[in-house]
């Protein structure tokens, strides 16, 4: 400071760049940038890969240098690892013909790429998509108007075939109903046997008679169903792949025929919408890699709902205790430590607790008390939606507690004091003033807990989630809500399809779509929670002034 030489002043300025620490501020800023970029990139990856899956992509026909043809959907271009130019990955489909869905084609071998208008894509019930060309219809019962264009004729025949599946579906429902009846009959007999009723008691005899009647009906209906199905499967069409190999495909096996190369933009949008609807409302197909996600969505929603029933009251009560009732002291400290521990226990430990306590402990007792006649087949003594929800409920309690506590503590003290001054009891103060004012904050806690539950998978994996549940936990059969049933879940769907399915590459699009859906659900919920909270904060900032 006391130096007047300009030289010395210069060095001082130079030093001060680092001494005043601005580069460090930049460094902290860089860390933040990096973190945010990473988040954004991950989101973009999910959206980029997820949004495009349902879009009808063009089918390209490759004419190769050696004169052969390959058709399919272009997935990606990339460099050949050991040099030699680019290559393209094609989804060639037709798993029944080629056994592989994907194929790499070196760019150098391609003579020409075209997009023929008559190229068709078929979504099928099995063997994945078919890409190729329509050759001819081979119809039995169905007639199509003469002199229509082949594609039109195919469409009308296919529509007719789809219509004819309806009576078969009715029969299939009847078969299911009968088989349920038979199962109920079997269980009634097992219960009677368990109670020690003799085999020649009138009740028993009636049941046995009923069983044989049911069996006869069942056999008859099943035979009818099989006959009709076999007849309908005679209605086929013959398709050829790019190389000319033909394949006869039953019309009923086609889920969705389309010609992407001729579709206009509105048609494509319509197609996208119909696929989206299928995604949200239909059952999965082809070992979960195609079709819809409805059972998984349903399972997730029901799980969250059941979890809320346990988690919300317990969490709110505990938070009210901590904020309004307990006196500052070691007890409050202990509860706070407990809450933090509860929040910090790894979710898999909750899972294993759920397995040991709910499934084998409580479930085993319930079974031996109420479902003894079904043993050794467990009813509640195995993983199910009830046990999974209770486990998740415990897991989300701390989330509710923390948010509720925050909400309660942000209600200004003066309001409580005013209420007490008017002679209200603690409960009245709580019910009439504090809780209504804190309700948006408590809501926030609920939503955060639900978001957490929607994304949690590890504890579910051992308490009742399955890759494919035969029936939903709620349906039209008595007693309508089946808490003992296993269920499907979006998060587990991602893990299962992405990591456990035999053909991971073909399953990837479905996983991205599921991921996108789950991310959207979770993000919307947490954004809502954050919005509610910020609005509440603003309100009290105004109120306390």
């Amino acid at each position: 400071m006391h130096s007047s030489s300009s030289n010395k002043l210069k060095t001082k300025v130079k030093r001060s760049i680092w001494a005043d620490g601005d580069p460090f501020i930049w460094a902290t800023g860089a860390a933040l940038t990096f973190t945010l970029c990473m988040t954004v990139i991950l989101m973009l990856v999910v959206m980029y890969n997820g949004l495009g899956v349902l879009w009808p992509h063009q089918i390209s026909l490759f004419e190769m240098e050696d004169g052969s043809f390959v058709a399919g959907k272009i997935m990606q271009w990339s460099e050949i690892p050991d040099g030699g130019g680019e290559r393209v990955q094609l989804k060639v489909g037709n798993r029944d013909l080629y056994s592989l869905d994907f194929r790499w084609v070196p760019e150098n071998d391609i003579a020409e790429i075209t997009f023929p208008n008559d190229a068709i894509a078929l979504e099928r019930r099995e063997f994945g998509n078919f890409y190729g060309f329509l050759q001819e219809l081979s119809l039995n019962d169905i007639t199509v108007p003469a002199d229509t264009e082949p594609w039109e004729a195919f469409l009308s025949a296919w529509n007719a075939a789809v219509e004819r599946t309806q009576p078969i579906q009715a029969l299939s429902q009847e078969v299911q109903r009968l088989s349920r009846e038979m199962e109920r009959n079997r269980l009634s007999r097992a219960r009677l046997e368990h109670q020690g009723v003799e085999a020649d008691a009138p009740k028993m005899v009636n049941l046995i008679e009923e069983q044989s009647e049911l069996r006869a009906q069942f056999d008859e209906t099943l035979a009818e169903q099989n006959r009709k199905t076999a007849a309908l499967r005679q209605e086929t069409a013959i398709f050829a792949d790019a190389g000319g190999r033909t394949r006869e495909i039953a019309l009923v096996d086609v889920v969705r025929p389309y010609r992407p190369n001729t579709m206009s933009i509105p048609a494509k949008v319509g197609f996208y919408a119909s696929k989206l609807w299928e995604l949200l409302s239909a059952e999965p197909r082809e070992s979960n890699t195609e079709g819809g996600l409805f059972p998984a969505i349903f399972g997730t929603v029901m799980l969250i709902f059941l979890m809320s029933i346990l988690s919300f009251p317990l969490g709110v009560l505990a938070a009210i205790y901590l904020q309004e009732y307990a006196k500052e002291g070691s007890m409050v400290k202990a509860v706070h430590i407990a809450v933090n521990n509860l929040a910090g226990i790894p979710s898999i430990v909750y899972g294993i607790f759920g397995l040991g306590f709910f499934v084998y402990g409580v479930g085993g007792i319930v079974d031996s008390l109420f479902f003894a006649e079904r043993l050794p087949t467990p009813t509640f003594g195995t993983g199910g939606i009830l046990w999974a929800s209770l486990t998740l409920g415990l897991l989300t309690v701390p989330v509710v507690i923390v948010a509720t506590e925050e909400a309660l503590s942000s209600v200004p003290k003066g309001i409580r004091e005013a209420s007490y001054a008017l002679g209200a009891t603690r409960l009245q103060t709580l019910r009439r003033t504090v809780l209504p004012m804190a309700s948006p904050g408590i809501m926030t806690g609920f939503i955060l807990a639900m978001a957490r539950a929607a994304g949690e998978v590890a504890p579910l994996m051992i308490t009742g989630v399955v890759k494919l549940a035969p029936s939903l936990p709620i349906d039209g059969q008595f007693p309508f809500i089946h808490l003992d049933r296993k269920f499907m879940h979006l998060g587990f769907h991602i893990y299962d399809v992405g990591f456990q399915s035999p053909n991971v590459e073909a399953a990837k699009p479905m996983v991205y779509v599921t991921t996108m859906l789950l991310v959207l659900i979770v993000l919307i919920m947490s954004s809502l929670a954050i919005y509610l909270r910020s609005r509440m904060k603003k309100r009290y900032q105004m109120g306390s002034m």
């Binding site: 005043d20 317990l314 521990n341 294993i352 397995l355 084998y360 603690r426 994304g455 590890a458 991602i494």
Partner: protein, 744 residues
């Protein structure tokens, strides 16, 4: 206001107090309940196995005890069987202490019906040596018949599986081991002149259904070692063992019929301790050796240091000693447990892998013959007085000790003791390897790399957000990070395993050099930035917009890293880093490795550390920073010298909580580690963590079994670990909250 109303209000208030207090307590109760339950499931692991005597024949049996050659029992602990010298099997029902049947064997090759020696094997098989030197292999078979109207009954029969003619040289052996397995019959005779004669008979059916027989007789003469005390042949007749009275052990390989090679001949005990009996542990890999001083040892072939091509029979386990010579060893056919009988009539049950002495049985009258049931759930013993005693084996988990869970164990087919996790194998005879050490190691390895990545990013980001950016941005960044926290871990796991991992695999070098390129770009930028600092725009940016200005720099740095990385790979590693890593550095590159895990777990942990740190930094009382600023400190000086020190306990707490979350995270590591329980620090390999291990193994673990309880034990470990961390963090925060309270 009526008195009635006031009373009602008061009553409700009281009820509410109870209910709400109950709710608060329920949270503590839940934590304790969770811990207690998982501990309760894990604890029986360390209970000892017990043998409960549940039956003893009241009257001495009609058979002279000296004539009894062997005893046996069925799996339901209902029927016992005695074999006597006359070749007669006597079946005894325990329920009413009565003889329910007798089967007399037809002597083979017109032998007089007298058995000279019998050796019991597992599954109620017996090697029998008949008076004229003929031999046979017989098996007692119990079959269970279930009936609708009455309890199940047990039927029994005796099958003779192989018969050997009397030897042509007429030499009657001292003892004979016979084996029959899949068309191959083997007979080994210990002769009076200390030689061993081996007879192998193979029956082969060719494509046309013609049966051909092939028979070979070899005589082995072990020149060294002294008098042979016992010989033993494994179940399939592929290996022959001999133990001598000078303490030598010998092993012959008989894999090919007709060629018998001596593979081992070694002095087993330095002090020439005499070997008394041999048997093989379930799985036919390990040899159990009993000696005259009561020692019980287990041996199996190990690759020695001096010659990695060979495998040499080596002393591996030492079990609890008997007081007198060991007279018989009966291996369990379920686990690696061994039942051994001493000359003093005491029975020992020991487990080989864990070296655990399970229990000893010492009835009033010494036991002379004993056997395990084939399910290893019971022991039958014939005592000196000719009475049968039956014990039921109950409870206990012989495989699990603190030693096997946390120490190095020498497993079969391993060349040295090791920490290994491999809970199940292809066959029943598999030796479960349940060391938790590789899993704990994996948990810490993944967490360490993740924390290395996450802590700087989260702390710096939090410092910037709370101290340097504008309130408006803070209002956006904080929710953005919370949204990041809400991302389900299954989504992160999927993305890093199926999207990021293949990209990193191909572009590994750009990722590596970016560690240097990013700081370099940063420094260059800072230097270049200096001349512009006096501009109005620059000053504006330096007031909270730095992180936005940095986005283009980051992109540039990324592009630079890409090109420099590939350039470096071409220059240093001949264009293929993976090949270099494998061939020159001798290391593997797993696609799902620690780099991927660091990204994934880091991504899950960053928002947690960030949020807590940001909160605590924002809560540092304004007076402190204002005072610092007033004294002329710069923004950074204030943060570094005032804000950070006063918030440091909370930052510590944030890191602790982040650590707890990373250790327990399941889905990310399950999907992106490859789940191989390795123990190496290499950043290019995966691992298996405690949490992922639970998720992988619990669906396959039989309820109440050893594996099930070990998995609960690992959950207890996780619980305790995270509890310590979280309790510490919470105590720190409570302390800090109290300290800050004085400023308000």
């Amino acid at each position: 206001m009526s008195a009635e109303y006031r009373k009602r209000v008061k009553r409700w208030d009281r009820i509410a107090t109870w209910v709400i207090t109950g709710g608060g307590m329920a949270v503590i109760a839940a934590v304790i309940l969770i811990l207690l339950l998982i501990v309760r499931v894990a604890v029986p692991l360390f209970e000892s196995q017990e043998a409960r005597k549940f039956w003893g024949s009241s009257n001495p049996s009609t058979i002279e005890p000296d004539t009894v050659l062997a005893v046996g029992m069925d799996d339901y602990l209902e029927t016992g069987v005695l074999l006597d010298r006359a070749g007669r099997f006597t079946f005894v029902n325990f329920a009413d202490d009565s003889t329910i049947g007798e089967i007399v064997l037809e002597p083979p090759y017109e032998s007089p019906s007298e058995i000279l020696a019998a050796i019991p094997h597992h599954g109620l098989g017996y090697s029998l040596l008949w008076a004229n030197g003929a031999a046979s292999f017989a098996r007692v078979v119990f079959s269970r018949d279930h009936h609708v109207d009455r309890p199940p009954t047990t039927a029994f029969r005796v099958d003779t599986l192989a018969e050997f003619a009397p030897p042509e040289d007429g030499l009657i052996p001292i003892r004979t081991v016979t084996r029959y397995h899949d068309g191959r019959a083997t007979r080994a005779d210990l002769l009076h002149d200390n030689r061993i004669r081996v007879t192998q008979e193979v029956e082969e059916t060719d494509l046309f259904g013609n049966v051909s027989r092939d028979s070979h007789v070899s005589v082995l003469d072990p020149a060294v070692g002294g008098e042979i005390a016992d010989i033993f042949v494994d179940t399939e007749g592929l290996a022959l063992f001999a133990g001598t009275k000078d303490g030598y052990l010998m092993r012959w390989a008989m894999r090919r019929v007709g060629t018998i090679e001596l593979t081992d001949s070694l002095l087993a005990f330095e002090n020439n301790r005499a070997i008394s009996t041999l048997s093989m542990v379930f799985g036919d890999v390990s040899l159990a050796v009993g000696d005259e001083q009561g020692g019980m040892t287990v041996w199996f072939p190990v690759r020695p240091d001096y010659d990695p091509q060979r495998r040499v029979l080596s002393h591996i386990h030492t079990l609890k000693s008997h007081r007198g010579p060991v007279t018989a060893i009966s291996p369990s056919q379920r686990t690696k447990s061994l039942l051994s009988l001493g000359a003093d009539g005491e029975l020992h049950m020991d487990h080989m892998t864990s070296n655990k002495h399970l229990f000893g049985l010492r009835p009033e009258s010494p036991i002379r013959k004993a056997a395990l049931s084939s399910r290893a759930n019971g022991i039958i013993g014939l005592d000196d007085a000719g009475r049968l005693n039956v014990w039921a084996i109950e409870g206990g988990y012989p495989e699990a000790t603190w030693g096997t869970l946390f120490g190095k164990v020498w497993y079969e087919n391993y060349d040295e003791p090791a920490f290994v996790w491999q809970s199940t194998g292809a066959t029943n005879a598999f030796e479960p390897k349940t060391s938790l050490v590789p899993l704990v190691f994996g948990s810490f390895k993944g967490t360490l790399y993740a924390m290395l990545y996450a802590i700087p990013l989260a702390l710096f980001g939090a410092i910037y957000t709370s101290q340097f950016t504008t309130a408006r941005f803070r209002g956006v960044i904080k929710p953005a990070v919370e949204v990041m926290a809400a991302l389900p871990s299954v989504v992160i796991g999927f993305l890093i395993a199926l999207w990021l991992a293949p990209i990193v695999e191909v572009h590994i070098m750009p990722f590596a050099v970016s560690l240097a390129v990013f700081p370099a770009c940063f420094l260059i930028f800072i230097v270049l930035w200096q001349p512009f600092r006096n501009l109005k725009l620059a000053r504006h940016i330096e007031r909270g917009y730095e992180f936005i200005a940095f986005i283009p720099i980051m992109l540039l740095a990324g592009v630079a890293a890409y090109f420099i990385g590939h350039f470096v790979e071409d220059m240093l590693f001949a264009g293929d880093f993976h090949r270099w890593l494998f061939e020159d550095a001798g290391r593997n590159y797993d696609q799902r490795n620690c780099i991927i895990i660091a990204f994934g777990l880091g991504f899950a942990v960053i928002p947690i550390i960030f949020s807590i740190t940001e909160d605590s930094l924002s809560n540092v009382p304004q007076r402190l920073t204002a005072a610092s600023m007033a004294l002329g400190a710069t923004r950074w000086q204030t943060v570094w010298r005032v804000v950070l020190p006063s918030a440091s306990p909370c930052i510590f707490a944030a890191i602790m909580i982040g650590f707890g979350r990373a250790v327990g995270e399941t889905m990310i590591v399950l999907m992106a580690t490859g789940n191989t329980p390795l123990m190496e620090w290499s950043i290019f390999t995966g691992m298996r963590t405690l949490s992922a291990n639970i998720a992988v193994e619990i669906p396959e673990a039989p309820v109440g079994g050893t594996l099930y309880r070990i998995l609960f034990l690992s959950a207890v470990l996780l619980f305790i670990l995270t509890s310590i961390v979280n309790t510490a963090a919470e105590l720190v925060r409570q302390y800090l909250r109290k300290r800050y309270a004085q400023f308000q």
